[in-house]
Amino acid sequence: MSETAKPSAGTRTKGDVLLEIRDLQIEGESDEVWRPIVRGVDLTLKRGEVLGLIGESGAGKSTIGLAAMGYARGGCRFSGGSVVFDGIDLRAVSDEARRKLRGSRIAYVAQSAAASFNPAHRLMDQTVEAELREGIRNRTEAEKDAIELYRRLRLPNPEEIGFRYPHQVSGGQLQRAMTAMAMTCRPDLIIFDEPTTALDVTTQVEVLAAIRDIVDQFHTAAIYITHDLAVVAQMADRIKVLRYGKSVEEAPTREMLANPREEYTRSLWSVRKLGKQEQPGGEPILQVKNVTAAYGNTVRVLNDVTVTVPRGRTVAVVGESGSGKSTLARVITGLLPPIEGQVVFDGQALPPALKERAQDTLRRIQMIYQMPDTALNPRQTVYEAIGRPLEFYRGLSGAKKEARIVELLNLIEMDESYVDRLPGELSGGQKQRICIARALAAEPELIICDEVTSALDQIVQEGILQLLMRLQRELGVSYLFITHDIATVRAISDEIVVMFQGRVVQQGPKSRVLSPPHPPYTELLLSSVPEMDPDWLTNLLARRKAQPAAVKAGDY
């Protein structure tokens, strides 16, 4: 295989111009009106180069990524500019010619591998599909090559993993299988659209390393789309910052990180600097005592878990998916009665099942969900969503209820002009604020926040976290904050509980948990959080190689 250059980061040679986008303009339709999504973006990519595209959602990142393949999503259209790939004007050639290029010379790796694979076919059949259709190799060769790619991407059991169905492998493995699929035809250009956003930090490291190596080995040019700066710092040679469909600034990675020129870029950089002074715990509001819980009677999801939340404080529960964080919330709220142990709230043991709890007990514990889209009924206006708990718990109606709704909206930094909106007419951050207002309407003492910021952009995240912190200062409410994002934990918690496979690995004040020495799992979790240093991934991998971790990511 001649195309397998030696894997050595840093010695990549950048060739001729591969992709040239000039003054790209794309419009999208909503309510019968065409509105610009991308407004005149220029982009040049050389062979073997990795360009990072970053920006908030709605900045047009994905649209530009797809445009690089000459494709506009349904409901979108090109309205100006040119896309030239290796001398071919993608906007001028026929659909047939474009289709031939995609999958053979340009490949695409989507954000959600789970949603992009066909659940009814084995991984292998899907991996080799494109090359068989294009007639590049015959089946035997293609499968041999796919196994080789699986091996290079460090998938476990490369010979056998192809015979599995998508639901039989983990999310991180699926994302790597998708990268293998994109690589089968040895494309000149791959577009990665947020490939690790849906993954845990511990898994993310594996996938990032695998992607970086394989792109390096085959000297593939790539466009790497993400909203996570620390990730793009590891992957890209150059970074381009986008906002509202326009380019804000563009520079080589190191230069951009060290010295961002634009105000907007600097604001992106500063988001992760949010912090809170740790406060000592007081009298406990919630005690989870030796709780063991299971789904059905077989799979134990929680094993002898003990957690205490002091009044007016924030306790963060961290761990990767499958560690039992959300199950803990279900036990506390009564959705899943525990097999053993009890939940004590404000000095009194709570009945294990939801049905046995009094209305006032329910009122005192509220919940905010990860996805504001599914947490708000799409057919209920803001007025109905916030008004219902007021009516239900406090019997308010008419003018009193209306006044209280306006008060609550002001509390979450919105105003009464939103009362008649449906959730579909609000942005993600606004929806999450409405969810917070709905919880506050019950005047709770404890709010369980289940990954409340992980579905939001970084800048919006910061706004939500600041709001939650302000509400705690003003109203004295306690939070049980479930998250897998260490930056969030650093920002808002007083105490930290680290969970792994249904057990509490470590718990204590923030300062103690975050400073070494760490138990092995905490170490793995903390060290997997990407940092803004462009050498972070390289150094981390070197360190881990020298000193194999005691605990492996759940992926293996």
């Binding site: 908030e56 959602s57 709605g58 349904g74 409901g75 709220t333 009564g334 959705l335 939801l354 709890r357 209305q359 329910l362 509220q366 919940m367 969900y369 996805m371 599914t374 947490a375 708000l376 009924n377 799409p378 057919r379 209920q380 206006t381 007025y383 219902r388 708990p389 239900f392 718990y393 209306e402 006044a403 306006v406 930094e413 919105m414 105003d415 009464e416 002009s417 939103y418 009362v419 008649d420 909106r421 942005s427 993600g428 951050g429 606004q430 604020r433 709905r438 019950a442 919006v460 706004g463």
Partner: protein
């Protein structure tokens, strides 16, 4: 997207007046209708005409539906626009009254079957567990017996009155509504907002009516149109067999049967009620197709 950005239109909404943003329901409906395809328009117009005929039957019909006004089997034209039937009743009048009787009964039956099947389907989806099992298996049993034969047997046992007819067909038909509403509701029951309502302590009726029902309306409305056609056809079939709507009430199904002999003489009169049935079925299906297309979110 900026958090606190106010769109110009929201700035127009005055403080504390929560009824403004329903921004003209009529205008919205008109906008949707304007873009409807010709088939949908055809369906809507036909349904409109039938409804008009059903409501204003006494004003439109030249004679009463039961009165003997002439000789048997009189030809078209003259005094009787579409002739008379086997007893000498005016065919046109009976056709118009038939719209009221057949369509009215079919509508009531469909409503009842949706109330029954829809409510039980939602309860099954929300409660799950043994209740879901019991309801589901009972429905399986009911569905395993051919509907028309089952209806015939039941009607011959309890006697063929309008009330019996409506109840029996509604119950038999509600099995399909049950299955549909249960399966679409299951997709909604798992949403976080339903869990939030449960955590709030909401009772079953509230969750059914306020959290779930609004979100499953589109498929239910579409199914309503289809089931209406089937109920309508079932009633006509039963009437044709003599166990449906009883004489002397005008009904399209029995009108076909009573005048069927005319066909052998090359007279198309018996085909008129049959055509009325067919036309309405086609019209309703056109409208349902359009509605399904609209709500499925597909773009042309």
């Amino acid at each position: 997207m900026s958090e606190s950005a106010h769109s110009p239109q929201s700035a127009l909404v005055a403080a504390g007046q929560p009824q403004i943003s329903r921004r003209g329901r009529a205008a919205r409906i008109w906008r949707v209708l304007r873009k409807a395809p010709p088939t949908a328009w055809f369906g809507l117009v036909v349904i409109g005409v039938y409804l008009f005929a059903a409501v204003f039957a006494p004003l439109l019909a030249p004679y009463s539906e039961t009165e003997l006004v002439g000789g048997a089997f009189e030809p078209w034209g003259g005094q009787f626009l579409l002739g008379t039937d086997q007893l000498g009743r005016d065919m046109l009048s009976r056709l118009i009254y038939g719209a009221r009787n057949t369509v009215g009964i079919a509508f009531l039956t469909t409503m009842l079957s949706f109330l029954l099947g829809g409510a039980l389907g939602l309860v099954a989806a929300i409660s799950g567990g043994w209740l879901d099992q019991v309801l589901g298996r009972s429905v399986d049993v009911l569905m395993s017996i051919p509907q028309l034969i089952f209806a015939l047997v039941l009607l011959s046992i309890v006697g063929s009155s309008v009330v019996n007819l409506i109840v029996i067909i509604a119950v038999l038909d509600s099995t399909r509504v049950f299955r549909l509403s249960r399966s679409v509701a299951q997709g909604v029951v798992v949403m976080d907002y339903v869990e939030a309502a449960r955590l709030r302590g909401e009772k079953l009726p509230w969750i059914m009516r306020r959290e779930i029902l609004p979100n499953i309306m589109p498929p239910l409305v579409a199914e309503f149109g289809l089931r209406f056609c089937f109920v309508f056809l079932t009633i006509s079939a039963l009437s044709f067999l003599g166990l449906g709507i009883q004489p002397p009430t005008a009904d399209w199904g029995s009108m076909v049967r009573d005048n069927a002999a005319l066909i052998t003489y090359g007279d198309v009169t018996p085909l008129l009620p049959a055509g009325a049935i067919a036309l309405l079925t086609v019209a309703v299906n056109f409208v349902v197709d359009w509605f399904l297309h609209k709500t499925s979110g597909l773009r042309e």
